[in-house]
Amino acid sequence: MRRSGTDAYTERHATSAVARTTARRVARPAALWGLVFGATIAATMASYSSTFSTAASRADLVAVTEGNVAFSALFGPIHHIDTVAGYTAYKVSMTLIILGAIWGLLIATRVQRGEEDTGGWELLLSGLTTRARAAWQAALGLGVGLAVLWVPTAVLAMAAGRSSKVDIDASACVYFATAVVSVVAMFMAIGMFIGQLAASRHHANVIGAGVIAAAYLLRMVADSGSGLAWLRWASPLGWFEQLRPLTGSHPIAFLPILGLTAAFAAGSVVLAGRRDLGASAMRGRDRPRPRTALLGGQAGLTVRLTRPAVLGWLFALGATGLAMGLVTQSAGTALKGSPTLERVLGRLGGDRAGAVLYLGYVFVVAAGLVAIAVAGQISAIRNEEEAGRLDNMLVRPVARGQWLGVRVGVGLALVLLASALAGVAAWIGAVSQHSDVGFGELVRAGLNVAPPGVFVLGVGALAFGVVPRISIAFTYGVVIWSYLVEVLSAITDSNHWLRDTSPLLHIAPAPAAAPDWASASWLIGLGLVAALAGLAAFARRDLAGS
């Protein structure tokens, strides 16, 4: 039977609804991450010529880094580091692809498995679509997100590349942006696929995190000069390294990237069509033995609900600390021969040399991770309210201040534990390599990264109390802004007003410098005052659902 034009339009419109909805949800964070990626690349390119302005300083950089297994194991192989392109590729690639892989995984499980878990997917599937078609449409929506991510990344890189001091071809910038975004695409596809197999979004994220860790470790072994360089071909992150962006393009490595992305995306569509909604191939235990030990009240429930995320972050900070410690000795030795690098790291406030200077620099990374972990806690707090689960507590004899206070307390404990753990793990790593750094010195360096975390927690709680609907975006915005200002300040002599807006720059780079306890006290004090104001505001406002 021939349909009327209007009917045909309506059906076409309806079947693309999933793609449009997904694209809308992905576009904003993609644009934000694109700006972060592009700004990081551009700032690194722009800083090179001022940081390494002479041939001597560039030769010095080559001498320090060439053949340094510790540097390549942590951040990837080093090529042509005496050029702005080689320096940029080495300095930012690993950070961007790890962040991109995590984001790609989380957003893919969120828009599919997450929607399924909350019942939203059921509503969409009751329309003019099927499970497989909806999964395909969601993949298209994620594809739109990738395009949105690519544009600012490529444009900002090209804009920086046009400078006469940088002078990198637009085509090389486009290749670099495409290479970074291709990693995000792979982990989106992996997230989609795992989301079809797992019992819940949370389950999918845990498996996906394992995949990222395995991919990183494989390439770490491959880049450690152990004669196992071929292992790069066994890791999706290794494929990125084989692409050699900015340092001699090898586009052949796009083949496995494209193959994996297509295979996992197609596999997710096939699985979506074959399984029941809400079901999974890897079923969790639906009838587990009741565990009520922590369910005696709201505090215990909070511990139980946040335990997976808290343990995940503690593991991440511990592993980061350990990795930093393991390369301390090697990095310290290399830095001793490089006044230029010492000057670069010293710009962050360090006044010592060698291993402790290196640690002072990398502990700032730990501070950033702690701040992201804290933003995740604010996100979890808001999600409880948005989903309506908070009502179950607040219609019983639980005061609002008590509820939020406990949640903030858990965030505070996470900050302190993660910070201390990073310090202890760094000490273990350093001592195993016979590095001469003291236990107390590194525990203090670890705790030194806590104050920005406390500050972010406080302003996040304040945002939750006052403007709950934008509290998640606001808190992550504070973290991203702090990171961008920190990156900018590490590579240029930036304006002090700008520097003052980043809590990450209000701590001394311990152990390269003695911890600045006065500034730390201010950050903690402001964070606690903001948290208390947030508690008071929360007690006086309406609950705000989705």
Partner: protein
């Protein structure tokens, strides 16, 4: 000193931006009463319950539960309240048993024997994870969590949505038991037969305003009686008689509504020779639709 009412609201008002969700609600629910709270979607029923629970704050007026101000001391009020939401949202990773354990501990008191009876009565399997429960089973879970506390006041917002008729009957049995124990029940529902069967009084809300409150008998007394008559001969002109409305004549058959005394109509019909006469009180549904319908008609007129 007289005991405080289970619920008392005075000029309770809530606005969301330019929209008035509840306008000057004055309502008193004595202890031990079961009151039905009716109104079309968006009338302000859930807003009223969320104000009583202190989840949202009034723009004006006050609400009290057993004399405790719901805004100033929500925790004090919650000690004597159990609530069943219409839209259930629970922690998907907990099992039913874990959820009941948690909610019972947070409330502070649980009648364990009654909880076990409820599990049996609602045929609820608490061993499964919440994420695997159907909508109906999630509804049963929050119902059991509320009822097992034996709280003095039960605030029920569409408590049987998603339940099958057998489970609905089990729910009605629970409310009857609550009445016997002297508990107060505030029941917001769209199932009018349920309200008619359970409630001592009914309050009807429209556009955020309380338009009717009373016992069903009082409401029926104030409402029109429907008369159907079959005459021996012609139908007399009854349209001008006091209280008579909606006159519909079909041959020798008459249908009309009478408000107030029926005597003038009976006298007129008897004088004309009536062969058969029936009278019927309006059902709750008709009472509800009478109020709701006038609103809908008014909207249509305005349009």
């Amino acid at each position: 000193m007289a005991e405080a009412a289970a619920i008392r609201t005075a000029d309770l008002t809530k606005t969301f931006g330019a929209t008035t969700a509840l306008a000057g609600l004055d309502l008193e629910v004595p202890r031990g009463e079961i009151i039905g709270y009716l109104g079309p979607n968006g009338a302000g029923k859930t807003t009223t319950i969320r104000l009583l629970l202190g989840l949202i704050r009034p723009a004006a007026g006050r609400a009290e539960i057993f004399g405790t101000d719901c805004t100033a001391d929500p925790v004090g009020a919650h000690r004597r309240v159990a609530y069943v939401p219409g839209d259930v949202s629970l922690w998907p990773s907990l099992t039913g048993a874990e959820t009941l354990h948690l909610l019972g501990r947070v409330h502070g008191s649980v009648d364990v024997a009654y909880r076990d009876l409820l599990l049996e009565r609602f045929e609820f399997d608490p061993a499964k994870k919440v994420r695997t429960y159907s909508k109906g089973n999630r509804q049963k879970l929050v119902l059991i969590a509320a009822l097992m506390t034996r709280a003095e006041l039960l605030l029920l917002d569409e408590p049987t949505s998603g339940l099958d008729p057998l489970m609905e009957r089990a729910f009605q049995q629970c409310v009857a038991e609550a009445r016997e124990r002297g508990q107060t029940v505030f029941l917001s529902s769209h199932i009018l037969a349920e309200v008619e069967a359970l409630c001592d009084r009914v309050a009807i809300l429209r556009d955020g305003r309380l338009v009717e409150v009373g016992t069903l008998a009082e409401m029926r007394h104030l409402s029109a009686l429907q008369i159907d008559a079959e005459m021996d001969g012609g139908v007399p002109d009854v349209a001008r008689l006091p209280g008579v409305s909606a006159v519909d004549v079909d041959g020798n058959r008459l249908r009309c509504h009478v408000t107030g005394s029926i005597e003038p109509l009976l006298a007129a019909l008897a004088a004309a020779g009536v062969r058969h006469l029936t009278s019927r009180e309006p059902s709750l549904e008709e009472l509800f639709l009478a109020h709701y319908g006038s609103g809908a008609e008014r909207s249509a007129d305005a349009a």
